[in-house]
Structures are given as C-alpha cells and as structure tokens.
Symmetry: C2
Subunit: 132 residues, 2 copies
DNA sequence: ACCTGTATTGACGTTAACGTCAACGTAATT
DNA sequence: AATTACGTTGACGTTAACGTCAATACAGGT
C-alpha cells in the first residue's frame, strides 16, 4: 500500500522542528501543496518528503526557490531530447556549485581541526605546570 | 617581508566579486576593520584574508555573525584552562554542524547524480529511435 | 579652471523568511 | 453551555544583508 495516511500541520511541524507558520508560508509560496478539505490542510507522505528535502536545502544555505528548483529536477526525466539536454546542463551546474561548497566545507573543517589540535596542545602544556 | 602592501576598496571588491557597498557594510558591522587615513580605507593583507574567510562562510550559508565567530576561533589558543575547555566545546559543536551539513551535501549530490544517470539513460533510449 | 575617476558619508529602499498578534471556526470533553 | 485543543485567515512587524541614490571630497591630467 502506498502509505495513504496523512499528517496534520502540527504533526509535521513537531516532527521537523518548524512552526505551523512556516508550513503555511511554504504553501502560500507554492513550495508545498497539501490537500484541502474545507479549509483544513492534510499533508500526504509525498508532501512530507518534499518538506524534508526543502529543509535539507535550507540547512545547505539554499533559498527556498533554489531548493524547490532542485527538487523539481528530481522528478523530471521526461520530455524531448532538447529538454533532456537542458536538464543535464542544469544538473551539472548545480553539481558544480555544490562541489564548490563541499570544498569550502572541507577547508573549514580542516581549519577547525587545526585549531582544535593547537588547543589541545596548549591544554597539555598547561597541565604539567600544575604538578610542579 | 610580511606583505606590507595595501588594497583599495575597489581592488578588493573586484577581486572577490562583491560591491564596495558590501565592504563598507562589513566594516560598519565590525566584520572588517581596515586602516583609515583620513576617511579613506586601506585594506591590509590580513583584512584580505579575513574577507576571504567571511565569503567562504557566506557560500556555506552561514550568517556573517557565524562566520565572524568561527574566524575568531581560529586565532584563539590562549587563555586559561577553563577558556581552552570552553573553546574546545565550541569547536566540537561547530564541527558537528558542519558535518551534518556535509552529510546533507553528500545526499543531495547523490540524488543529483541519480537524476543525471536516469536522464542520460532516457536520452540514450531516445536516440536509437531516430536511426530506425 | 575644468573634467574624470575614485573615494567618502548619510539615508532610505528592498527582499526573503518567517514571527506575532487578532479574530474566528469547529470538534471533542467536561 | 463552557472549556479546551486544534485549526483557519488576514495583516502587520522584524531581521539580515545588502542596493540605490544623493551630495560631497579630493587628486591628477589637460
């Protein structure tokens, strides 16, 4: 069965650590499109996945638009030859940006490690002085 | 020699692809502190490095404050035992965040690769149809 | 003396991504 | 019938990170 159960707005908010305002905002902007019965929102499993991806993008420092764009790429492999070629270009471009980001990240982590080592060394130099 | 030459505001702006407004803004907020002769700014090599780090943080989606905080960690290994211990904690926390970000990044890159493969496959399925 | 280029300091405008009410509906519980 | 819990729609407020003028200074070349 295709996981037919749905989530309330506060269910999702609690699960992902965001506020209901955030979810309503995402819908208002078209980044989420939960089912509406009357005025009430019902989030499907697909909505939930999409939210997860949006928040992952957010943690990467992407704007909501950027996240949405990437997510839309995920469900694309259709269309003519031209469309496919264009899509491949987009994907390559994105990958380039993300790889640069990965390099930045690695550099920063390396820097932090260096500081951490120096820090521990300084701490070690400090301790024996007390045992004099 | 310790690289004694200095950079004008537009030198740096051009080199790093930001506007002069950005650099003035960074100074105004205390993220940069170029020398001032009269009213004119003279950026040192140290300022330049600091700017590079700030922009690296920006590419990672960090706020300017966060970048500045991390950069300040870099030049810290001093102070008493208590300070050092606190610093180590901070560093570990930061590393945790960045490692989570690295995981997100890897996941996203993997997703994109998957799409790219599917995309190429679709393209390959399309081409032989033309040679019929 | 005039122009060109680069610098400066305000000061107001803008955009994204929500926060923060206020006022209201509805369904279940007491 | 009243409370409690959860939902809704406006509508205005907020913060970060600049953009975009406008008015001004100053140095060098012609």
């Amino acid at each position: 069965m295709p996981d037919t159960r749905s989530y309330s707005i506060s269910d999702l908010a609690a699960e992902f650590g965001v506020t209901t305002r955030t979810l309503r905002f995402y819908e208002e902007k078209g980044f989420l499109a939960p089912e509406r019965r009357g005025r009430v929102r019902y989030f499907s499993a697909a909505d939930r996945v999409r939210l997860r991806l949006i928040l992952r993008g957010r943690r990467l420092g992407l704007s909501l638009e950027e996240s949405a764009e990437i997510i839309d790429l995920y469900k694309a492999p259709e269309g003519g030859k031209r469309q496919l070629a264009a899509l491949i270009d987009k994907l390559a471009e994105r990958r380039g940006q993300l790889e640069k980001q990965a390099a930045d990240l690695a550099a920063t982590l390396a820097d932090l490690e260096g500081v951490e080592d120096a820090c521990r060394a300084a701490l070690a130099d400090l301790k024996p002085a007390r045992s004099r």
